[in-house]
Protein backbone atom coordinates (compact mmCIF):
# COMPACT_ATOMS: atom_id res chain seq x y z
CA UNK A 1 0.00 0.00 0.00
CA UNK A 2 1.14 3.53 -0.74
CA UNK A 3 0.13 6.50 1.29
CA UNK A 4 -0.18 9.14 -1.43
CA UNK A 5 -0.66 12.83 -0.81
CA UNK A 6 -1.51 14.90 -3.85
CA UNK A 7 -3.04 18.35 -4.25
CA UNK A 8 -6.00 17.86 -6.53
CA UNK A 9 -7.82 20.87 -7.92
CA UNK A 10 -6.34 22.96 -5.14
CA UNK A 11 -7.20 20.62 -2.28
CA UNK A 12 -4.63 18.43 -0.55
CA UNK A 13 -5.84 14.85 -0.54
CA UNK A 14 -4.34 11.79 1.15
CA UNK A 15 -5.20 8.22 0.33
CA UNK A 16 -3.95 4.73 1.02
CA UNK A 17 -3.94 2.83 -2.24
CA UNK A 18 -2.34 -0.34 -3.62
CA UNK A 19 1.10 0.45 -5.09
CA UNK A 20 -0.01 -0.35 -8.62
CA UNK A 21 -2.94 2.10 -8.57
CA UNK A 22 -2.98 4.34 -11.63
CA UNK A 23 -3.55 8.05 -11.18
CA UNK A 24 -6.76 7.79 -13.22
CA UNK A 25 -8.00 5.02 -10.94
CA UNK A 26 -7.24 7.11 -7.88
CA UNK A 27 -9.26 9.96 -9.35
CA UNK A 28 -12.22 7.93 -10.59
CA UNK A 29 -12.59 5.19 -8.04
CA UNK A 30 -11.08 6.50 -4.82
CA UNK A 31 -11.96 10.20 -5.05
CA UNK A 32 -15.15 9.92 -7.12
CA UNK A 33 -13.82 12.46 -9.63
CA UNK A 34 -15.33 10.67 -12.59
CA UNK A 35 -14.80 13.51 -15.05
CA UNK A 36 -11.51 12.00 -16.24
CA UNK A 37 -12.22 9.02 -18.50
CA UNK A 38 -10.54 5.83 -19.71
CA UNK A 39 -10.93 5.06 -23.40
CA UNK A 40 -8.12 2.68 -24.29
CA UNK A 41 -5.39 0.44 -22.94
CA UNK A 42 -2.43 1.55 -25.05
CA UNK A 43 -1.92 5.14 -23.87
CA UNK A 44 -3.20 6.53 -27.16
CA UNK A 45 -6.69 7.97 -26.85
CA UNK A 46 -6.09 10.87 -24.46
CA UNK A 47 -9.45 10.63 -22.66
CA UNK A 48 -7.49 10.48 -19.40
CA UNK A 49 -5.39 13.64 -19.83
CA UNK A 50 -4.98 15.75 -16.69
CA UNK A 51 -2.39 18.31 -15.64
CA UNK A 52 0.39 17.11 -13.34
CA UNK A 53 2.66 19.86 -12.08
CA UNK A 54 1.62 22.09 -14.93
CA UNK A 55 2.12 19.53 -17.68
CA UNK A 56 -0.47 17.54 -19.57
CA UNK A 57 -0.07 13.82 -18.91
CA UNK A 58 -2.00 10.64 -19.59
CA UNK A 59 -3.20 9.68 -16.14
CA UNK A 60 -3.74 6.07 -17.21
CA UNK A 61 0.03 5.71 -17.58
CA UNK A 62 1.12 7.39 -14.38
CA UNK A 63 1.01 5.63 -11.04
CA UNK A 64 -0.72 7.58 -8.29
CA UNK A 65 2.50 7.09 -6.34
CA UNK A 66 4.49 8.82 -9.07
CA UNK A 67 2.35 11.92 -8.47
CA UNK A 68 3.26 12.02 -4.80
CA UNK A 69 3.49 15.62 -3.50
CA UNK A 70 2.44 16.86 -6.90
CA UNK A 71 -0.34 19.13 -8.10
CA UNK A 72 -3.03 17.69 -10.28
CA UNK A 73 -5.72 19.59 -12.12
CA UNK A 74 -8.64 17.69 -13.60
CA UNK A 75 -11.52 18.96 -15.71
CA UNK A 76 -13.56 19.37 -12.55
CA UNK A 77 -11.06 21.96 -11.40
CA UNK A 78 -10.98 24.16 -14.49
CA UNK A 79 -13.98 26.38 -13.96
CA UNK A 80 -13.85 29.00 -11.24
CA UNK A 81 -15.45 28.44 -7.86
CA UNK A 82 -18.41 30.62 -8.83
CA UNK A 83 -19.03 28.45 -11.87
CA UNK A 84 -17.50 30.78 -14.46
CA UNK A 85 -16.26 28.51 -17.20
CA UNK A 86 -12.66 28.48 -18.38
CA UNK A 87 -12.41 30.11 -21.83
CA UNK A 88 -11.67 26.70 -23.36
CA UNK A 89 -14.83 25.22 -21.85
CA UNK A 90 -16.79 28.19 -23.11
CA UNK A 91 -15.30 27.88 -26.58
CA UNK A 92 -16.06 24.15 -26.76
CA UNK A 93 -19.66 24.98 -25.90
CA UNK A 94 -20.12 27.91 -28.29
CA UNK A 95 -18.40 26.22 -31.22
CA UNK A 96 -19.87 22.73 -30.72
CA UNK A 97 -16.54 21.02 -30.13
CA UNK A 98 -18.14 18.06 -28.38
CA UNK A 99 -20.90 15.58 -29.12
CA UNK A 100 -21.02 12.52 -26.87
CA UNK A 101 -18.67 14.20 -24.40
CA UNK A 102 -16.56 11.17 -23.58
CA UNK A 103 -13.24 12.44 -25.00
CA UNK A 104 -14.08 15.97 -23.91
CA UNK A 105 -12.47 16.19 -20.46
CA UNK A 106 -9.12 14.92 -21.73
CA UNK A 107 -9.49 16.99 -24.87
CA UNK A 108 -10.13 20.20 -22.94
CA UNK A 109 -7.22 19.56 -20.56
CA UNK A 110 -4.92 18.86 -23.51
CA UNK A 111 -6.13 21.96 -25.33
CA UNK A 112 -5.71 24.22 -22.30
CA UNK A 113 -2.16 23.03 -21.81
CA UNK A 114 -1.37 23.48 -25.49
CA UNK A 115 -2.60 27.05 -25.55
CA UNK A 116 -0.90 27.87 -22.24
CA UNK A 117 2.51 26.39 -22.98
CA UNK A 118 3.20 26.23 -26.72
CA UNK A 119 6.01 28.69 -27.38
CA UNK A 120 4.85 29.90 -30.81
CA UNK A 121 1.56 31.28 -32.12
CA UNK A 122 -0.82 28.43 -32.92
CA UNK A 123 -1.88 27.74 -36.47
CA UNK A 124 -4.28 25.08 -37.69
CA UNK A 125 -1.34 22.93 -38.72
CA UNK A 126 0.34 23.20 -35.34
CA UNK A 127 -2.89 22.50 -33.47
CA UNK A 128 -3.56 19.41 -35.55
CA UNK A 129 -0.01 18.17 -35.06
CA UNK A 130 0.14 18.87 -31.32
CA UNK A 131 -3.28 17.39 -30.53
CA UNK A 132 -2.60 14.03 -32.16
CA UNK A 133 -2.44 12.41 -28.73
CA UNK A 134 -6.20 12.85 -28.33
CA UNK A 135 -8.78 10.86 -30.27
CA UNK A 136 -12.36 11.88 -30.96
CA UNK A 137 -14.80 9.64 -32.78
CA UNK A 138 -17.77 12.01 -32.96
CA UNK A 139 -16.69 15.45 -34.17
CA UNK A 140 -14.21 14.78 -36.96
CA UNK A 141 -12.00 17.30 -35.05
CA UNK A 142 -13.12 20.25 -37.17
CA UNK A 143 -14.85 22.24 -34.41
CA UNK A 144 -12.26 21.31 -31.79
CA UNK A 145 -9.58 22.91 -33.95
CA UNK A 146 -11.78 25.98 -34.29
CA UNK A 147 -12.31 26.22 -30.55
CA UNK A 148 -8.61 25.92 -29.76
CA UNK A 149 -7.66 28.52 -32.35
CA UNK A 150 -10.36 30.86 -31.04
CA UNK A 151 -9.06 30.62 -27.49
CA UNK A 152 -5.48 31.05 -28.64
CA UNK A 153 -6.42 34.11 -30.67
CA UNK A 154 -8.33 35.61 -27.79
CA UNK A 155 -5.40 35.02 -25.49
CA UNK A 156 -3.00 36.65 -27.90
CA UNK A 157 -5.24 39.56 -28.70
CA UNK A 158 -7.46 41.42 -26.34
CA UNK A 159 -7.57 39.60 -23.02
CA UNK A 160 -11.20 40.57 -22.54
CA UNK A 161 -12.31 39.13 -25.82
CA UNK A 162 -14.64 36.12 -25.54
CA UNK A 163 -14.27 33.47 -28.23
CA UNK A 164 -16.80 34.50 -30.82
CA UNK A 165 -19.49 32.23 -32.10
CA UNK A 166 -18.19 32.09 -35.64
CA UNK A 167 -21.48 30.86 -36.95
CA UNK A 168 -21.83 28.03 -39.34
CA UNK A 169 -20.29 27.92 -42.75
Amino acid sequence: MQHVTITINGTKVSCDVPDETLLVTLLREHLNLTGTHVGCDTTQCGCCVVHLNGKSVKSCTVLAAQAQDGEVTTVEGLAQKDGTLHPMQEAFHQLHALQCGYCTPGMIMAAVNLVDTYPEPLTEEIVREQMEGNLCRCTGYHNIVKAILAVAAAKQGDADKRPALAGVE
Binding site: Q2, P18, D19, E20, L22, D41, T42, T43, G46, V49, L52, K55, S56, V57, K58, C60, T61, V62, L63, A65, Q66, Q68, A110, N113, L114, P119, Q130, M131, E132, G133, N134
Partner: protein, 273 residues
Protein backbone atom coordinates in the same frame (compact mmCIF):
# COMPACT_ATOMS: atom_id res chain seq x y z
CA UNK B 1 -6.29 -4.85 -17.53
CA UNK B 2 -5.43 -4.06 -13.94
CA UNK B 3 -1.71 -4.56 -13.31
CA UNK B 4 -0.59 -7.40 -11.10
CA UNK B 5 0.13 -6.20 -7.56
CA UNK B 6 3.66 -4.85 -7.07
CA UNK B 7 5.77 -2.77 -4.66
CA UNK B 8 6.75 0.77 -5.59
CA UNK B 9 9.97 2.34 -4.30
CA UNK B 10 11.34 5.86 -4.32
CA UNK B 11 15.11 5.42 -3.95
CA UNK B 12 16.98 8.45 -2.61
CA UNK B 13 20.16 7.70 -4.52
CA UNK B 14 21.58 5.68 -7.35
CA UNK B 15 23.19 3.35 -4.84
CA UNK B 16 19.86 2.70 -3.16
CA UNK B 17 18.27 2.00 -6.53
CA UNK B 18 20.99 -0.49 -7.40
CA UNK B 19 20.67 -2.19 -4.03
CA UNK B 20 16.90 -2.47 -4.34
CA UNK B 21 17.32 -4.12 -7.70
CA UNK B 22 20.00 -6.48 -6.46
CA UNK B 23 17.81 -7.50 -3.50
CA UNK B 24 14.72 -8.17 -5.60
CA UNK B 25 15.22 -10.61 -8.46
CA UNK B 26 11.97 -9.71 -10.20
CA UNK B 27 12.32 -5.93 -9.91
CA UNK B 28 12.00 -3.47 -12.79
CA UNK B 29 13.28 0.06 -13.06
CA UNK B 30 10.70 2.72 -13.77
CA UNK B 31 11.53 5.99 -15.49
CA UNK B 32 8.91 7.74 -17.60
CA UNK B 33 6.85 4.60 -17.43
CA UNK B 34 5.37 5.04 -20.89
CA UNK B 35 6.76 1.75 -22.14
CA UNK B 36 6.71 -0.22 -18.91
CA UNK B 37 3.31 0.75 -17.55
CA UNK B 38 1.43 -0.06 -20.79
CA UNK B 39 3.19 -3.44 -20.82
CA UNK B 40 2.20 -4.07 -17.21
CA UNK B 41 -1.38 -3.10 -17.99
CA UNK B 42 -1.40 -5.80 -20.67
CA UNK B 43 -0.11 -8.20 -18.01
CA UNK B 44 2.90 -8.96 -20.18
CA UNK B 45 5.18 -8.81 -17.16
CA UNK B 46 4.91 -9.24 -13.41
CA UNK B 47 7.68 -7.31 -11.63
CA UNK B 48 7.65 -7.78 -7.89
CA UNK B 49 9.02 -4.27 -7.39
CA UNK B 50 9.10 -1.02 -9.33
CA UNK B 51 12.12 1.18 -8.61
CA UNK B 52 11.41 4.76 -9.65
CA UNK B 53 14.57 6.26 -11.16
CA UNK B 54 12.82 9.52 -12.01
CA UNK B 55 13.12 10.61 -8.36
CA UNK B 56 16.84 9.81 -8.10
CA UNK B 57 18.86 13.04 -7.99
CA UNK B 58 21.58 13.64 -10.54
CA UNK B 59 20.08 11.76 -13.46
CA UNK B 60 18.31 14.64 -15.13
CA UNK B 61 19.59 17.61 -17.09
CA UNK B 62 21.24 18.77 -20.27
CA UNK B 63 24.86 19.95 -20.55
CA UNK B 64 27.01 21.01 -23.46
CA UNK B 65 30.71 20.75 -22.75
CA UNK B 66 33.59 20.63 -25.22
CA UNK B 67 31.42 19.64 -28.15
CA UNK B 68 29.70 16.83 -26.26
CA UNK B 69 26.03 17.10 -25.46
CA UNK B 70 25.16 15.15 -22.31
CA UNK B 71 21.57 14.33 -21.60
CA UNK B 72 20.69 12.83 -18.22
CA UNK B 73 18.81 9.54 -18.39
CA UNK B 74 15.63 10.77 -16.74
CA UNK B 75 15.37 13.93 -18.85
CA UNK B 76 11.97 13.95 -20.51
CA UNK B 77 11.40 14.16 -24.25
CA UNK B 78 9.58 17.47 -23.77
CA UNK B 79 12.63 18.90 -21.99
CA UNK B 80 15.01 17.75 -24.72
CA UNK B 81 12.79 18.98 -27.55
CA UNK B 82 12.37 22.41 -25.95
CA UNK B 83 15.97 22.82 -24.82
CA UNK B 84 17.72 25.78 -26.43
CA UNK B 85 21.01 24.00 -25.79
CA UNK B 86 19.98 20.93 -27.79
CA UNK B 87 18.32 23.01 -30.48
CA UNK B 88 21.48 24.96 -31.02
CA UNK B 89 23.94 22.07 -30.78
CA UNK B 90 22.04 19.28 -32.60
CA UNK B 91 18.77 20.70 -33.98
CA UNK B 92 17.91 17.44 -35.75
CA UNK B 93 18.01 15.69 -32.39
CA UNK B 94 15.71 18.23 -30.74
CA UNK B 95 13.41 17.99 -33.73
CA UNK B 96 13.39 14.21 -33.65
CA UNK B 97 12.57 14.08 -29.95
CA UNK B 98 9.70 16.49 -30.59
CA UNK B 99 8.09 13.84 -32.79
CA UNK B 100 8.16 11.04 -30.22
CA UNK B 101 4.66 9.90 -29.23
CA UNK B 102 2.51 12.91 -28.48
CA UNK B 103 2.69 15.96 -26.19
CA UNK B 104 1.47 14.12 -23.13
CA UNK B 105 3.78 11.16 -23.67
CA UNK B 106 6.69 13.54 -24.15
CA UNK B 107 5.99 15.10 -20.76
CA UNK B 108 6.77 11.75 -19.10
CA UNK B 109 8.88 9.60 -21.42
CA UNK B 110 12.64 9.71 -20.88
CA UNK B 111 15.75 9.16 -22.96
CA UNK B 112 17.08 6.53 -20.58
CA UNK B 113 13.91 4.52 -20.69
CA UNK B 114 13.70 4.67 -24.48
CA UNK B 115 17.33 3.69 -25.03
CA UNK B 116 17.27 0.89 -22.47
CA UNK B 117 14.16 -0.57 -24.06
CA UNK B 118 15.51 -0.60 -27.65
CA UNK B 119 12.13 -0.83 -29.33
CA UNK B 120 12.89 -1.60 -33.00
CA UNK B 121 10.68 1.30 -34.09
CA UNK B 122 11.67 3.89 -31.49
CA UNK B 123 13.41 7.10 -32.51
CA UNK B 124 16.19 7.50 -29.96
CA UNK B 125 18.17 4.39 -30.99
CA UNK B 126 18.55 5.89 -34.47
CA UNK B 127 19.96 9.10 -33.02
CA UNK B 128 22.22 7.33 -30.53
CA UNK B 129 23.63 5.06 -33.22
CA UNK B 130 23.53 7.73 -35.91
CA UNK B 131 25.57 10.15 -33.81
CA UNK B 132 27.88 7.51 -32.39
CA UNK B 133 26.87 8.45 -28.85
CA UNK B 134 28.18 6.91 -25.66
CA UNK B 135 25.79 5.31 -23.18
CA UNK B 136 27.08 6.04 -19.69
CA UNK B 137 25.88 3.72 -16.94
CA UNK B 138 26.48 3.36 -13.24
CA UNK B 139 29.47 1.16 -13.96
CA UNK B 140 30.88 1.79 -17.43
CA UNK B 141 30.74 3.60 -20.76
CA UNK B 142 29.31 1.74 -23.75
CA UNK B 143 29.76 2.89 -27.35
CA UNK B 144 26.59 3.04 -29.42
CA UNK B 145 28.00 0.49 -31.85
CA UNK B 146 28.22 -2.02 -28.98
CA UNK B 147 25.01 -1.08 -27.22
CA UNK B 148 22.13 -2.21 -29.42
CA UNK B 149 22.34 -5.99 -29.55
CA UNK B 150 19.01 -7.30 -30.91
CA UNK B 151 15.30 -6.53 -30.89
CA UNK B 152 14.46 -5.16 -27.42
CA UNK B 153 17.91 -6.27 -26.28
CA UNK B 154 20.86 -4.12 -25.25
CA UNK B 155 24.30 -4.68 -23.78
CA UNK B 156 23.07 -3.66 -20.33
CA UNK B 157 23.68 -6.17 -17.58
CA UNK B 158 20.86 -7.04 -15.18
CA UNK B 159 20.48 -4.16 -12.74
CA UNK B 160 22.71 -1.80 -14.73
CA UNK B 161 21.37 1.75 -14.84
CA UNK B 162 21.92 4.27 -17.65
CA UNK B 163 22.89 7.59 -16.05
CA UNK B 164 23.33 9.73 -19.13
CA UNK B 165 23.92 9.65 -22.88
CA UNK B 166 26.74 11.66 -24.40
CA UNK B 167 26.26 12.84 -27.96
CA UNK B 168 29.21 14.18 -29.93
CA UNK B 169 28.09 17.35 -31.69
CA UNK B 170 28.16 16.80 -35.47
CA UNK B 171 28.81 19.33 -38.22
CA UNK B 172 25.38 18.55 -39.61
CA UNK B 173 22.60 16.09 -38.95
CA UNK B 174 19.14 15.29 -40.16
CA UNK B 175 16.27 12.90 -39.44
CA UNK B 176 13.36 11.75 -41.54
CA UNK B 177 10.68 9.33 -40.37
CA UNK B 178 7.79 7.59 -42.08
CA UNK B 179 5.20 6.77 -39.46
CA UNK B 180 2.67 3.97 -39.23
CA UNK B 181 -0.90 5.28 -39.41
CA UNK B 182 -1.96 3.50 -36.24
CA UNK B 183 0.94 3.15 -33.84
CA UNK B 184 2.67 6.31 -35.06
CA UNK B 185 5.97 4.51 -34.60
CA UNK B 186 8.51 4.54 -37.42
CA UNK B 187 7.96 2.19 -40.33
CA UNK B 188 11.37 3.41 -41.46
CA UNK B 189 13.39 6.35 -40.21
CA UNK B 190 16.94 7.47 -40.90
CA UNK B 191 19.28 9.63 -38.84
CA UNK B 192 22.29 11.01 -40.72
CA UNK B 193 25.25 12.89 -39.25
CA UNK B 194 28.45 14.41 -40.58
CA UNK B 195 31.64 14.50 -38.53
CA UNK B 196 34.37 16.18 -40.55
CA UNK B 197 35.33 13.79 -43.33
CA UNK B 198 33.18 10.90 -42.11
CA UNK B 199 29.49 10.27 -41.82
CA UNK B 200 27.06 8.01 -40.01
CA UNK B 201 23.59 6.87 -40.99
CA UNK B 202 21.34 4.80 -38.72
CA UNK B 203 17.97 3.26 -39.49
CA UNK B 204 15.13 2.46 -37.10
CA UNK B 205 11.71 0.95 -37.70
CA UNK B 206 12.82 -1.17 -40.61
CA UNK B 207 15.50 -3.65 -39.56
CA UNK B 208 14.56 -7.16 -38.57
CA UNK B 209 17.30 -7.05 -35.94
CA UNK B 210 16.56 -3.55 -34.70
CA UNK B 211 18.46 -0.33 -35.34
CA UNK B 212 21.35 -0.63 -37.81
CA UNK B 213 23.85 1.45 -39.78
CA UNK B 214 23.74 1.95 -43.55
CA UNK B 215 27.39 1.34 -44.42
CA UNK B 216 27.01 1.96 -48.18
CA UNK B 217 25.36 5.28 -47.59
CA UNK B 218 27.97 6.28 -45.01
CA UNK B 219 30.74 5.64 -47.52
CA UNK B 220 28.99 7.75 -50.16
CA UNK B 221 28.23 10.50 -47.64
CA UNK B 222 31.85 10.67 -46.60
CA UNK B 223 32.63 11.82 -50.13
CA UNK B 224 29.58 14.02 -50.57
CA UNK B 225 27.26 14.75 -47.68
CA UNK B 226 24.04 15.49 -49.52
CA UNK B 227 20.89 13.97 -51.02
CA UNK B 228 22.64 12.74 -54.14
CA UNK B 229 24.54 10.21 -52.05
CA UNK B 230 21.25 8.49 -51.22
CA UNK B 231 21.21 7.14 -54.75
CA UNK B 232 24.04 4.89 -53.57
CA UNK B 233 21.97 3.44 -50.81
CA UNK B 234 21.75 -0.33 -51.09
CA UNK B 235 19.18 -1.83 -48.78
CA UNK B 236 18.55 -5.56 -48.84
CA UNK B 237 14.85 -6.40 -48.41
CA UNK B 238 15.94 -9.60 -46.76
CA UNK B 239 17.09 -7.74 -43.68
CA UNK B 240 13.89 -5.76 -43.34
CA UNK B 241 10.93 -6.22 -41.00
CA UNK B 242 7.81 -7.55 -42.65
CA UNK B 243 4.31 -6.96 -41.25
CA UNK B 244 0.87 -5.72 -42.28
CA UNK B 245 2.11 -2.13 -42.32
CA UNK B 246 4.94 -2.80 -44.71
CA UNK B 247 6.53 -5.58 -46.69
CA UNK B 248 10.30 -5.89 -46.66
CA UNK B 249 10.49 -4.43 -50.18
CA UNK B 250 8.41 -1.47 -49.09
CA UNK B 251 10.58 -0.83 -46.07
CA UNK B 252 13.73 -1.14 -48.15
CA UNK B 253 12.29 1.52 -50.45
CA UNK B 254 11.28 3.74 -47.54
CA UNK B 255 14.77 3.60 -46.06
CA UNK B 256 16.25 5.07 -49.23
CA UNK B 257 13.54 7.73 -49.50
CA UNK B 258 13.86 8.73 -45.84
CA UNK B 259 17.65 8.84 -46.09
CA UNK B 260 17.37 11.22 -48.99
CA UNK B 261 14.80 13.38 -47.26
CA UNK B 262 16.89 13.55 -44.09
CA UNK B 263 19.71 14.87 -46.25
CA UNK B 264 17.40 17.30 -48.01
CA UNK B 265 16.29 18.75 -44.67
CA UNK B 266 19.44 18.91 -42.61
CA UNK B 267 19.18 20.56 -39.23
CA UNK B 268 15.62 19.31 -38.89
CA UNK B 269 13.50 16.28 -38.28
CA UNK B 270 10.78 15.67 -40.83
CA UNK B 271 7.89 13.28 -40.25
CA UNK B 272 5.70 11.71 -42.92
CA UNK B 273 2.70 9.42 -42.82
Amino acid sequence: MVMYPTHYHRPKSLEEALKLHADNEEASYLSGGHTLIPALKQRLARPSDLIDLAVVPGLRGIKLEKNVLSIGATTTHAEVAASSVVRKAIPALAGMVGTIGDRHVRNRGTIGGSVANNDPAADYPAAVLGLGATVVTDRRRIAADDFFVALYETALEPGEIITCIEFPVPDQAGYAKFRSAASRYAVAAVFVAKFGGSARAAVTGAGSGGVFRLRDLEAALAKDFGPAAAAHCKVEPGNMLEDHVGSSEYRANLVVVMARRALEHLGEASSYK
